[in-house]
């Protein structure tokens, strides 16, 4: 269940359109390390996680990613509104325009459409959380790349905010991974998949600590 709030997580008020920049930033909407992949990754991975607290981290970060998705869309929308036909032709925006006019559609900077293959749900908590940590770093690096292209402070500030959140999420996923590992056998974290296998120790000791 979700509930919509009619405001952005961080203000986006862009005065100058810039179609060239919009084409780069749209990658964080529907590109390989974008917010659509991020939100769908965490919100889809939740179901097989056998620990409530860890599923809670995935839910809350996944929910925040939806707010980021809306911020990125707002940046793209404000960078492309009030464009003249001349600007569209000059800025290389014509290829996007012919299919979507100035609507916001999930694609990478290079034009590749969003695809669920950009993320994985392995159904193994260690594997999934390792992917989540890597995903936060990839998104952070993408925002760093975007920041090198941005001169307008109206665009810079929300992008800096989004970049900072990637760093915080990376930290929280690291802690979530530790919460998973604390429940497993430190001599061999990979002895079994707590999201699938039955822990063998449970048979002799119901309090073996595996949470199953």
């Amino acid at each position: 269940m979700w509930s919509y709030e009619k405001r952005l997580q961080f203000p986006v008020n862009i005065k100058e359109p810039n179609a060239k920049l919009a084409q780069a930033i749209i990658s964080q909407y529907g590109g390989p390390d974008g917010e659509m992949g991020a939100s769908m990754r965490y919100l889809s991975q939740r179901y097989s996680i056998p620990y409530r607290e860890v599923a809670g981290v995935l839910t809350d970060i996944g929910t925040e990613e939806l707010a980021h998705l809306e911020m990125v869309a707002s940046i793209v929308h404000q960078l492309t509104r009030n464009l003249s036909m001349e600007e569209i032709e000059k800025s290389g925006f014509a290829n996007y325009y012919v299919d979507h006019t100035i609507g916001v559609w999930p694609q990478a900077a290079g034009g590749v459409p969003f695809n669920a293959c950009e993320f994985q749900v392995k159904g193994d908590p260690i594997t999934d959380l390792m992917e989540d940590m890597a995903a936060e770093q990839k998104a952070r690096a993408t925002y760093d790349n975007i920041l090198r292209l941005v001169k307008d402070p109206d665009v810079c500030e929300p992008i800096k905010f989004l970049r900072m959140r990637e760093v915080v999420h990376f930290q929280r996923f690291g802690e979530a991974l530790r919460m998973v590992q604390d429940r497993l056998d430190s001599r061999n974290f990979y002895a079994f998949n707590p999201a699938f296998d039955k822990c063998e120790s449970c048979d002799d000791k119901p309090d073996c600590g595996c949470d199953k």
């Binding site: 509930s3 009619k6 005065k15 981290v57 809350d60 999420h169 802690e175 919460m179």
Partner: protein
């Protein structure tokens, strides 16, 4: 900045503190100090949201109760920005 923009900004600030605290508390559920901060900012945010929705427009349908017409649909959209 007008009163409406200022209040919306303040709600955003309180909400950001809460977002940070939620994620922190998710992995540090026994930190009493953080829990106190959460309670404090949550009260402030709820109060400000209620005030904003009464004075200007509902930020969520839970604040859309009205003696007159339905105001939710006519409220400004977040992606419009201040320069719309």
């Amino acid at each position: 900045m007008g009163d409406r923009e200022q209040l919306l900004r303040d709600i955003g600030i309180a909400d950001f503190v809460l977002t940070e605290l939620v994620l922190y508390l998710d992995t540090h559920p026994h930190d009493c100090k953080a829990m106190e901060y959460f309670n404090h900012y949550n009260r402030i945010k709820l109060q400000m949201e209620k005030e904003f929705s009464q004075k200007y427009y509902p930020l969520n349908t839970r604040y859309a109760e009205s003696g007159k017409e339905w105001r939710w649909g006519a409220a400004p959209l977040p992606w419009e920005g201040a320069c719309a």
